[in-house]
Point group: C2
């Protein structure tokens, strides 16, 4: 057996922990170290042979790990960390602020080209596997419409927005696709839809004692951008209920392409890629881990700079040889 | 606008005609010529500016087309044509005899390496888009099981097998997934299944006058490999009914991966890629056309030899630039 791919993890939140567990599922990989900004002594990891180190020590691992998986957030961590660590390591991240991807790509690309490293950005399921399907299906069926639905799942951004409302102690928000709309598309209709037409927003809110619940509900429902354009449902529950019933992290969604072919557009085709995930962070982490394999291989072949999921042939994410893939999976 | 990709089509059956219609949907491509073994004067194509020529004239087009799409069958045409034309042109084909793919790949690869051309083999939906999903989902969720279902759709091989039964005048066979089994997998079960457990076979048979229908039905149901291991339903209908109700070519199916993550495999994920196609040949053709674009680009970049759908980054099949793809679809 070839030498194992040596993996480093930067950041040990839900994604970092998910990557650790995913590496344990992949026998051609081994976790070398978890790097953290917190005190390493406060972090207990699952892997027995890996170290936990302060991020200040990461430089010492320049030649000891083949790929660093960046597990920080897109708002403030990755815009700094992406270019910084691409100048030292092959990297993978899940940068998911869609509007800032071009800018982020350029900054990571510049650093990785200079260092001769390879960095896969915006890996996960959206951006990620959903993006692949949007591209693939648009290219195969140029006459058509693509639809992306998210959920049922927690939106961290919307949950945070509710928590900022006066009188709210805690809250969680689920984005839920409108099933009747999904069914219309699955049945071949091509409606023009806003994100608000496609989803409803269900909120579970813990109010502070004595707070005006009617006012809270109105504030949420009228919040511009976040809720005003959606069918929004607000439930008030206790802190105990929130902890007990809403602490898991399921998610999911689908990409549907509805398109036609034929001389007179007479034949309709519906293609759907869908996910039902019991743990959003663990699934995202599993995608990151598979693409960590690709990044190491591409770098060994001399392909440097920033890449997205669009640029990486699928054979690179599999531990199997090309011969085996052709024989077993094609 | 850049120069258009100049496309040639070899063979004008259902796939060849589908490719022609698909090229018309792609504004960066133009059809130059259809090559046929039949008399060109007997073939009427849709595209006004393209020529119809005997295949003996194909050599004259060596420098006039950028990619040749091979639209022959996998049984006898492609094993000859694949290596032959890869020595003259960039090629794409839909070779779908799964068991012979490794051998076919090698013969096309050898020819294409020698000629400096690029050939994408086994492009379509299975092999093709289904294969991509099998690879991708196995790599992302290594702890799990993959399931492929085909149908509802016509199996040409099974229809032919029925037509060889004594007393049968004509027949068509539909492969149909067993919905209850699909639902079990969608709900998180991981059953061990044979192809026969997953599908049933519905046959519409036109008997010759005076033929023994009971005998025909028994012969079909007991036919080894084709029907013996399946739940098989046989209907006798008239030739008129067969023509009227069974001459369209719908197909479809799905690939489902059921896998788990977490320290104790506590989180289950179900990922599904599904197709509902009103025209199997036209959809297959649309995939071939998108990959024709990729083959031309890869060849211009110096990537020669045989490739499969596993080897080609998705960005190559889209007419959009990488910048635009990152901005719009990632």
């Amino acid at each position: 057996m070839a030498e194992k791919i040596r993996v480093g993890i930067l950041g040990y939140g839900n994604i970092g922990r998910g990557v650790e567990l995913s590496v344990l599922q992949n026998q051609d990989m081994e976790l070398i170290a978890v790097f953290t900004r917190r005190g390493p002594e406060n972090i207990s990891i699952v892997s027995k042979s890996a170290e936990v180190l302060h991020v200040d020590d990461i430089y010492k691992y320049k030649d000891l790990i083949d790929v660093l998986i960046l597990c920080g957030g897109s708002a403030t961590d990755l815009p700094q960390q992406g270019p910084k660590y691409a100048s030292l390591f092959n990297c993978v991240d899940s940068f998911d602020t869609h509007a800032r991807i071009p800018e982020y790509f350029n900054s990571v690309n510049e650093a990785a080209i200079l260092s001769g490293k390879t960095a896969a950005i915006s890996i996960g399921w959206d951006p990620g596997l959903f993006s692949m399907n949007r591209l693939m299906l648009e290219a195969v069926l140029p006459h058509g419409e693509s639809y992306t639905f998210w959920g049922k799942g927690v939106s961290q951004g919307h949950s945070d927005a509710i928590r900022r409302v006066k009188g709210v102690k805690n809250a969680i928000q689920y984005t839920i696709p409108v099933e009747s709309v999904v069914d219309r598309i699955r049945n071949g209709e091509q409606p023009v839809l806003t994100t608000g037409d496609k989803h409803l927003r269900e909120c579970f809110v813990v109010a502070e004692e004595g707070a005006d619940k009617t006012e809270i509900e109105e504030s949420i429902k009228n919040m511009p951008n976040y809720f005003a354009d959606y069918n929004t449902i607000v439930h008030f529950i206790s802190e105990d209920e929130l902890k007990k019933n809403h602490s898991r992290m399921p998610h999911g969604g689908c990409v549907i392409r509805s398109g036609d072919t034929g001389q007179h557009s007479e034949n309709r085709h519906i293609v759907e890629f869908s996910l039902k995930l019991e743990s959003n962070p663990e699934f995202t982490s599993s995608v990151l881990t598979a693409y960590a394999r690709a990044v190491v291989r591409l770098n060994r072949e001399g392909k440097t700079g920033a890449l997205t999921i669009f640029d990486i042939p699928l054979s690179y994410i599999s531990p199997r040889s090309s011969e085996e893939l052709r024989k077993e999976l094609l």
